[in-house]
């Protein structure tokens, strides 16, 4: 057994960290938050130039083929920097869906462009104000024409290529996944808790669509098993950054003649944040291994990482505000950036209670004491 990332993998993480430290500080995040830019284009291009979009994409399709362990570490850094780029949508969801179900032609057309960053992707599933269920999908596809509206599409405002969940009119028992290009859709920006994610309402009115896979619902579950790990790493990064911010403030802010970090109420809150973060970290590391090795354990390991990282990022982001007092509730301080991102990520790909149920459904029956 060897339960650690290799030195080369750590070196890569460090390189990504340095790039983002230099190019993606909170001023960059805020420029997107304030609507001055749709996304951080220079960061997006820089990541592509470093070959990071294609970290887990084979060289034949324009990637570096480095692997999923590496991609997990990239995700962690993006989460720590709250990077306002459509990386999760493009890489963990759309590129991944193409790798899993795309025809050779579809892969050859789209993957190289996703690797260079020329094309940005988005996944369109949600239609109503309730949790997603296959029997409720009202978007339909008849022949190659797609009709319907997706209510909440992350990065939908800037995407060039959509993967869409829709019900074939042929009377299939399950919805299917389709590919649709941006020129076929109407996009309307909608505000969300994280204003840096270009959330949009996307309408398809006779949009030209290509079938990706007919078994859309089970495909979506498989996609979530895999992407769940990568989202968990973003959440882990977010938790770690929020914790670090809180610890730093607790050391420098004085009240009653002493650093607030010496008050046990604060110290113990920070200790609990650390514990949640550490549990998430270890679960994430194991899930990274399961993802990279296509282990039979992946659905359980992925759900475990996702639940732990959701809990940790929500706790750390929330209590980072508490540690900061009134300053924590200002627009000016960065606390809310973590709070927004943590709570947004928690709802993408299905919410915490849905993942809790997935986790339990994947536990092996009868685990004897």
């Amino acid at each position: 057994m060897d339960f650690d990332f290799s030195d080369e993998q750590k070196l890569l993480a460090d390189q990504v960290k340095r790039f983002l430290d230099e190019n993606c500080d909170s001023r960059v995040v805020r420029s997107v938050l304030e609507g001055e830019a749709d996304f951080a284009e220079a960061v997006w291009q820089g990541l592509a130039d470093l070959g990071l979009h294609g970290t887990a994409i084979p060289e034949t399709y324009g990637g570096t083929g480095a692997g999923y362990l590496e991609l997990c570490l990239v995700a962690q850094q993006l989460g720590a920097h709250i990077a306002p780029v459509p990386f999760a949508s493009s890489v963990y969801l759309v590129a991944e869906a193409l790798l899993l179900w795309g025809s050779e032609a579809q892969k050859l057309i789209w993957l190289p462009k996703l690797c260079t960053g020329e094309v940005k992707g988005a996944l369109a599933t949600t239609e109503s104000l309730t949790q997603l269920r296959p029997q409720d999908v009202a978007t339909t596809c008849s022949g190659d024409r797609l009709n319907g509206t997706k209510l909440v599409v992350s990065d939908g405002g800037i995407a060039d290529l959509f993967v869409v969940l829709a019900q074939p009119e042929s009377g299939s028992p399950t919805p299917a996944l389709y590919l649709v290009t941006a020129d076929q859709v109407q996009v309307q920006a909608v505000d969300s808790v994280d204003l840096t994610r270009n959330t949009a309402r996307v309408t398809f009115a006779g949009a030209s669509a290509q079938l990706l896979t007919g078994e859309g619902w089970s495909a979506l579950q498989k996609l979530y098993d895999r992407a769940g790990v990568l989202f968990a790493f973003e959440q882990l990064g977010c938790a770690q950054a929020a914790l670090a911010m809180a610890v730093a403030y607790a050391q420098e802010r004085f009240a009653f003649g002493r650093a607030i970090g010496s008050f046990q109420a604060i110290k113990h809150m920070l200790a609990d944040m650390y514990v949640a973060m550490k549990l998430a970290e270890s679960n994430c590391y194991y899930a990274a291994w399961a993802l990279a090795n296509n282990s039979a354990d992946l659905p359980l390991a992925g759900a475990t990482a996702r639940v732990a990282a959701t809990q940790a990022s929500q706790l750390c982001a929330r209590d980072n505000i508490q540690v900061h007092g009134g300053m924590g509730f200002t627009w000016e301080f960065d606390c809310h950036l973590y709070y927004r991102r943590a709570n947004y990520l928690a709802l993408e790909l299905g919410s915490l209670s849905e993942w809790e149920a997935r986790l339990v459904d994947h536990l092996p029956l009868q685990q004897s004491a």
Partner: protein, 417 residues
Amino acid sequence: MDFSDTPEEAGFRAEVRTFVDEHAPHYLAPFLAKSGFGNTHTGDYDTLTEAKKWQKTKAEHGWACLMWPTQYGGRGASPMQNVIWSQEEGLYGRLSSLFIIGQGMCAPTMMAYASEAHKQRYLPKLASGEEVWCQLFSEPHGGSDLAGLRTRAQKSGDEWVINGQKIWTSGAQHSDFGILITRTDPDVAKHKGLTMFFLDMKSPGVKIVPIRQANGNSEFNEVYFDNVRIPDHQRLGEVGEGWRVSITTLMNERMAIGGSIPTGFPEIYELVQTLSLDGAPAVENPAVKSRLAGWYVKAAGLGHNASRMISALSKGEMPGPENSMGKLVAGNMMQDIAKFALDLQGQAGSLVDPEIAEGAARFQAMLLRSPAVRIEGGTDQILRNIIGERVLGLPEDLRADKGMPFNKIPTSQQDKS
């Protein structure tokens, strides 16, 4: 990253399996399987006798205290081999609880500070379970604030004379020896006047009084010292260096407890699969799922944390204070799980009769024992202080007794006014 056995690890595992298959007390398996937390069941067999027998068998075949050097009764095994051993020993590992304090805490202290002759004399018998050891640290006035302890040791020729009282000493009634921390100089600051010894628990002047615990058992004791004499060669470390020596013990304590602590997850998961709730297996209820997922995440996280620690140890890294979190997480979790398991059983959850209650009353035993997990070996609050200060680097607590000579420190409200 790689979770499969290397060929050497697989070979070692096979060797362990053969030994366990051939020598383990299989007749105890059904009872051990039903052991609730804090109670080791051995049916009609005497637990102490059976525990010692299994330990002796392990030692005779070189499977006791695997990581110790061979000359002290160990096997010189790696941390990874030790993990493989405990995975394969499985249920029978539940017989070892009597030896954890001696082997996990006293022994590392002896290895670091005892003379070679003493190591040769005491460690092999500790490994084989022939001699049981206890840890005489806590006192009525020194628990979390261990350095507030008052038991006096005064030099008399080549000996030290001990007077005072220890409390909460687990297993003292079964122990042959103990490590003992005392105050040798009350005129200096509290951490500076301490000295560590080991002693024969049968020494004249030692009196052991069992304490009845909140759960009805009596695992811990009061231990009184009335002019007990300890030869100077049984001193561990220099005079006045007892605090530093105790750190060795406590670091190992958190390793010994934190790495392998039960969480209650397998038990609750088993329960909700069979127990009916609202006409269906409880596990199908969304509220149950949510609780279960939260606990699984913790149990799995602690397991992976432990594996990461073993991996780091294998590469020669030192375990750090972050291991304090194991007991902090598990203790709270066990208490929550017990409460929830009883809740699901309705009023019948209140029964503690093992003949009637679900699973031989395992969750009731857990309910009644788990509060202690949050106290023994460092309370939840002390562990959070450690994480806050030593892991996150936060400033120390304000200490009202900082730098004061020990005998000037207030010990009650009256002292202060």
